[in-house]
Every structure is written in structure tokens, then in C-alpha cells.
């Protein structure tokens, strides 16, 4: 979806996607991540694997989640956002199946709109 709606449609060499693959369901492996990474082959996307939930925990609050881990979330950051001791607050969050507003449920068209909004901001 990100490849199709964002990377294929937004021709901006500055745009960056960081995809962290991990054990959201339990039992996933690094080999699974290597397979899945092929679904988003654009060079602007960097792929990572973690076998732990630490990052998903650290991003819980920035994603606006109370109890759930931040797996299956899409966090959008503006230019200038820096990651210090704690992750920065995203400008926009989309999700799949989380206890977050339903209008923030993942939608490629909406996410592309938000990306373009941030790209246009100076």
C-alpha cells in the first residue's frame, strides 16, 4: 500500500520511509522480514528487523496509544524532527485495528495527502 500510494506516486527523492519488521503476531523471523521487504523495494525505503517489542513500546505514547504496542502503525514526521533520547512526536498517525480514531485507520489516499501536506510546508 505504501509502495503503491506513496512511493509510486510521490516523486520526491527526499521522502524517506523507515520500515521496522518485527514480532507483532509472535513467531515472525528475520527471514520473513527479508521476504516482506521485497514488497517495498523503493530505494527511499530502509528496512529493519527487530526480534523485540522495545521499539513498539517506545512508540506507544507518541502514536497516541494507551495499552497497545505500536505495531501496525504509520507515523509521519515533518522535516526537522529529531530523535533524541525519546522518539519525537509524529505529525500524523495512521493505524490498522488500534484503539485510535477510526478516521485514522490506514488509507493510502489519506496518507499520501498528509505526506504532501508536510512536503508543501516550509
Amino acid at each position: 500500500m505504501v509502495q503503491r500510494y506513496i512511493l509510486d506516486r510521490i516523486d520526491d527523492p527526499k521522502l524517506r520511509i523507515h520500515v521496522v519488521w518485527g514480532p507483532m503476531l509472535g513467531g515472525e523471523t528475520e527471514a520473513d522480514a527479508r521476504e516482506a521487504a521485497a514488497l517495498m523495494p523503493d530505494p527511499r525505503a530502509a528496512h529493519y528487523w527487530t526480534g523485540a517489542h522495545t521499539l513498539a513500546e517506545a512508540l506507544r505514547a507518541p502514536a497516541g496509544l494507551q495499552e497497545e504496542l505500536a505495531w501496525d502503525t504509520f507515523l509521519l514526521f515533518p522535516r526537522g524532527a529529531k530523535w533524541g533520547e525519546e522518539p519525537p512526536a509524529p505529525a500524523y498517525v495512521m493505524h490498522v485495528g488500534k484503539k485510535l480514531p477510526p478516521e485514522r485507520r490506514l488509507n493510502g489516499e489519506k496518507l499520501a495527502e498528509q505526506v504532501n501536506r508536510l512536503r508543501a510546508a516550509r
Binding site: 500510494y5 506513496i6 524517506r16 520511509i17 521496522v20 514480532p23 527479508r34 530502509a46 512508540l59 505526506v115
Partner: protein, 192 residues
């Protein structure tokens, strides 16, 4: 004169022979046949703009002249999975793959029923098989476009590098900050 009559009679007979099958068809419109053989690529719109499954279907004729083919569904880790039960009636087409389903049990059918466009360049219809809990059904649209012929060379899949993260995920933090002049999306996903 006699010759002219013979020509007229011959034409009339020819017209009658030509017109009869049309009349017999009556109300039933039969679309002109089109070629199903080809390399087709497109998407299954499981949940538009949310979950769209990239799909490649290759259809050819086997040694007996019957339609045969395979399907690739990378998101389901399916490659060259056999297609069966082809039916082609004019432009109407259907075909099926069989696969174990958590919901429906082993060797369950997953069915494409659609129509090939008059110019033979597109195929669209309904795919039945992946149950959508929210929508409460398992029928979703698909749309394919003909991108080549059966047996055509396909682009080799690109496998990007995957960086294992250290416990404090410093590799991600560094890359994120290195691109501070860019709009960035951070995504956390299961690979399965």
C-alpha cells in the same frame, strides 16, 4: 437475367445462413471471443486504499489446447501457484486456485470471475475467497491489465537489505536523524 436471379438467390441464402444463428441467440448477448492467454498484472482490492494485493496471473494453453495458468500473490507468499477450472465464454472468464484456508479448511477454492475488456487489455471482476471480517463477506473486486504474453521474462524481484536493530535501535535513530531534512514515515509491521 437468370444469372442475376442466381446471384440474388445465393446472396439471400447466404444472408439467411448468416442471420439464423443471430436470431437463435435471441436476447442472449454473446460477446465476441477474446484471448485470455497472456501475462496479467494488477490488484485484488481487498480493502481499497488499505489492503490491496498485487497479483500476477499467467494464462497459456497446454498441449491439449486447454487454458492453464499460475498466480503470484507476493503478500501471500505465493509464486507460480497453479490455477485450475478455467472457463471462457466469450469475454466472460473464471478460474480458481486452491489453497488451505484457516476459515474454510484445507484445499479451499479461491475464485476469480470476471470479464475481459473488448480490446483484450484488461480483465476485471470479483474475487471470492479472502474473508473480510469488517465487511462480512469474502467477495472483493479485482482488476488486471495485460502486460505481456505467457512465458515473457518477468522482472526479478528486488530484495532490499534488512538491517537487524540493536536493543536500543541506534541504527534506526541515526538514519532517522540523518534524513532530518526529509519528510519521513516510520512504519512498524509484521512481515507475515
Amino acid at each position: 437475367m437468370r444469372g442475376s436471379w442466381k446471384v440474388f438467390a445465393g446472396l439471400a441464402a447466404g444472408l439467411a445462413v448468416w442471420a439464423l444463428p443471430l436470431a437463435a441467440q435471441g436476447a442472449r448477448e454473446i460477446a465476441p471471443p477474446v484471448r485470455a492467454e497472456g501475462l496479467w498484472q494488477g490488484i485484488i482490492l481487498y480493502d481499497p486504499a488499505q489492503v490491496e494485493l498485487e497479483t500476477t496471473v499467467e494464462i497459456a494453453r497446454d498441449a491439449q489446447g486447454n487454458l492453464a495458468g499460475t498466480i503470484d500473490l507476493p503478500s501471500q507468499r505465493m509464486q507460480f501457484h497453479p490455477l485450475r477450472d478455467f472457463k471462457l465464454d466469450g469475454r466472460r472468464i473464471s478460474f480458481t486456485f486452491y489453497r488451505d484456508s484457516e476459515r474454510r479448511g484445507p484445499n479451499s477454492p479461491f475464485v476469480f470471475e470476471g470479464e475481459i475488456s473488448a480490446d483484450g487489455r484488461a480483465m476485471e471482476g470479483i474475487f471470492t475467497g479472502f474473508y473480510n471480517e469488517e465487511k462480512g463477506n469474502d467477495r472483493v473486486p479485482f482488476h488486471f491489465e495485460r502486460t505481456g504474453e505467457p512465458g515473457d521474462e518477468r522482472p526479478a524481484p528486488v530484495h532490499p537489505a534488512v538491517t537487524p536493530l540493536s536493543p536500543a535501535y541506534g541504527e534506526l535513530r541515526e538514519a532517522f536523524n540523518r534524513d532530518a531534512d526529509a519528510v519521513r514515515i516510520l512504519i512498524l509491521l509484521s512481515p507475515t
